[in-house]
Symmetry: C2
Subunit: 430 residues, 2 copies
């Protein structure tokens, strides 16, 4: 965590303070004006002002922010492909991104506006005056960063590619759009104000100009999970509470077991210890069909009642489901093909995920059906044990699959947090 000793202000407004050191000429063309490092750069690492829309979280720390951080209300997610072949450009990009992320999460502008009247502004400006809004920025590395489609080592990193970092397999019923899948790098920007999240992705994209280009991006307008016991469970576009049984920040033993990569997990990829894996899936919901299904059928498929989110075996939202309990005709109250049953740790070798997804709506098709669904995000210690087996089974058996289409897929290794003066993923390049 941050070494800052002063108590933080409760609300920080975005100000044009003096900037941070540039990371090399390769990035200067993007409008990033380097060489103005000052002592004020360390402001970016102040401790969090904790709660509320104006709150700021520290960027630096043991783990990256935006994983166990209480899920913010809005998302802008982006995947990038590198356009450079030079390892030093990649390192320079990560250095610049790290510094910019630290500033933006603290509610500061990227760079300095005042001294550059005849240059493009360092910061695009649309977040001027907005509070930090609990912004977090989380970076990840895709399998293609290590090896290209022909298996060639792109940046001298292939020997350190984690064994678990391979493209996800094709699951039954997958209907993927390659243009919205995969990517060399990812950026997850979450904030309570979408303008702050969009601003972050836009400015990181701009800083990457000449080094990496946006491959795909996704806005999410409403969180579909809680990552803290202090948060109420939100609803997905099926109208049901989502993420009741999620891993929560308060359960540190479970985080160690299921979320964070351990130091011994993969000896060749020790740089990832303290990190995690991010699974992203764009799951379209055929909501018009769902909306014509009876409430009884909907609740049976989910395995919970709609209003309270209690398992159909009884109790309240946080009651454990009783899969043995039967009702009329001896049928289990928690149907065999219900989503909750199939996703439950007891049916999945005890594994748990930290889900962090968002509802999306992206216009409509020519038939007037909303292009809407769930942008699924999960963080896991190892996708080979914590995601692939479960998704294989669910894509075959989950009754909800009739109303879902997986349209995009990506997997990223999420390095541990950066230290002040360092950059994201530094140990990978050491």
């Amino acid at each position: 965590m941050s070494a800052a000793s002063e108590p933080p202000p409760r609300s920080v407004s975005r100000r044009g303070l003096l900037g941070f050191a540039g990371a090399g000429a390769a990035l200067t063309a993007a409008g990033f004006v380097g060489g103005r490092a000052t002592a004020e750069a360390s402001e970016a690492s102040q401790a969090p002002s904790a709660e509320g829309a104006a709150g700021a979280y520290p960027f630096y720390g043991e783990h990256q922010p935006g994983i166990v951080t209480p899920a913010q209300d809005r998302l802008h997610f982006a995947a990038f492909d590198l356009t450079t072949t030079a390892r030093e450009d990649l390192v320079a990009l990560l250095t610049v991104w790290t510094a910019a992320a630290a500033r933006m999460t603290a509610g500061q502008l990227v760079g300095d506006e005042a001294t550059a009247y005849d240059s493009p502004p360092d910061d695009t400006g649309e977040a001027i005056g907005l509070p930090p809004s609990r912004l977090t920025i989380t970076f990840g590395f895709g399998p293609s960063l290590f090896r290209d489609a022909q298996g060639r080592d792109r940046f001298g990193l292939a020997a350190r590619q984690p064994k678990a970092l391979a493209r996800l397999p094709h699951f039954p019923a997958d209907n993927l759009d390659p243009a919205r899948s995969d990517g060399d790098l990812c950026v997850q920007a979450c904030a309570d104000d979408p303008q702050v999240a969009v601003h972050a992705v836009r400015n990181l994209s701009r800083l990457a100009f000449g080094t990496a280009a946006l491959r795909w991006s996704q806005l999410g307008f409403g969180r579909t999970s809680s990552t803290s016991t202090a948060q109420a469970t939100p609803r997905n576009l099926f109208g049901f509470k989502d993420g009741t049984a999620n891993l929560k920040a308060e359960d540190s033993a479970a985080l160690t077991e299921h979320l964070w990569v351990g130091a011994q997990d993969d000896p060749a990829a020790g740089w990832l210890a303290g990190g995690s894996y991010l699974v992203a899936r764009r799951i379209a919901m055929t909501i018009e069909t769902w909306d014509r299904t009876s409430l009884r059928e909907q609740e049976t498929l989910v395995g919970r009642d709609r209003r309270e989110g209690a398992p159909l075996s009884g109790g309240t939202e946080f009651s454990e489901p009783d899969f043995a309990l039967t009702g009329r005709e001896g049928k289990p109250l928690m149907a065999l093909n219900s989503h909750v049953r199939l996703a439950h740790p007891s049916q999945n070798d005890g594994v748990q995920m930290l889900r962090r997804g968002y509802n999306y709506t992206d216009g409509n098709d020519a038939l007037g059906r909303l292009d809407a669904g769930l942008f699924f995000i999960a963080y896991v210690r190892d996708p080979r044990t914590h995601y692939i087996p479960m998704q294989t089974r669910m894509s075959r058996q989950d009754g909800l699959m009739e109303y879902l289409q997986h349209r995009a897929s990506a997997l990223f290794a999420v390095p541990p947090g950066a230290s002040e003066g360092g950059h994201i993923g530094q140990a990978l390049f050491a």
Copy 2:
């Protein structure tokens, strides 16, 4: 305004109260279960709980809500085309939409969940538990509602088509996508919580099943205007404050002159008195190019400084620009092609608009450029005097046009507010 005499609760949570009367068999198939009218239906028209995220505005009143209402943070806008040819279906739709809008803006569910376990739920559910979030729903009628492309009278309404309600002309540099333009009906849903706005459009779309189909829709993530002097001016994706000189709710003389259709404006279309016209334009911004332009050039093109939004002729944000003031070499400080000069009432026969636009970001193109911009909405008393001349001039002369592309266009007549027991647009059908 509402006749409710009891003080409203400060915060209303969405509850599944008993529903309102159905409007006919044509709409029952959509999952709207009619015939459950009770005295509680009038709850929907309670007075506003005024301010704050939990606030509720009344749906019924002299004018429709969502026009001079203080601009909410998020938008879901939708245009519909009628799939029926029967006038009674159209009236039934407007009746059902009116009742549903009144309930949703009051934070209530559409219909009643408890009595329909073997039917599809009346309400899709994703807003259960969310406060009203200052939701407003505003309806409009497009020119095609009155006459089809061949000029034929579709619903016996042609004689009452307002003279000003014609498709907007092709402006210089327009690059329109017909699939995202026009429409028979429009719905503007604004709320501080996007999940509440999306829920409203989704449920209205569902109620329209068999009568009208979604033609296009647009999410807006951040407001770009203030409609009350109590609101701070927000920023657009050029990073500048937008809407400083907007018409404001407090200036009732200006609203009468520039916003509301007068009783004598169009004798054949007296039904529109107390209403307005809604101009919608999807304006893509080439932000990557903009971001490479110097701050000096940006400010010159806008005519204001970026940080404070003050006119370049001096003063503070709300100072009147001085177009006569010159600087070095005798050039006007407010450049001749600056946006603020060209949009100023003094350059436009004194006309003013009430702008109510939103920033949008809809993914990116294959080159990695964000598909982002401004979803422009303006309300005016008459588009022939208050929008078309200005846009004709600006599309030719505005220096910002180099960074803009108008990609979609629509015009709607917005009827006055509905009375309790009546429906939107009732006077048109009388």
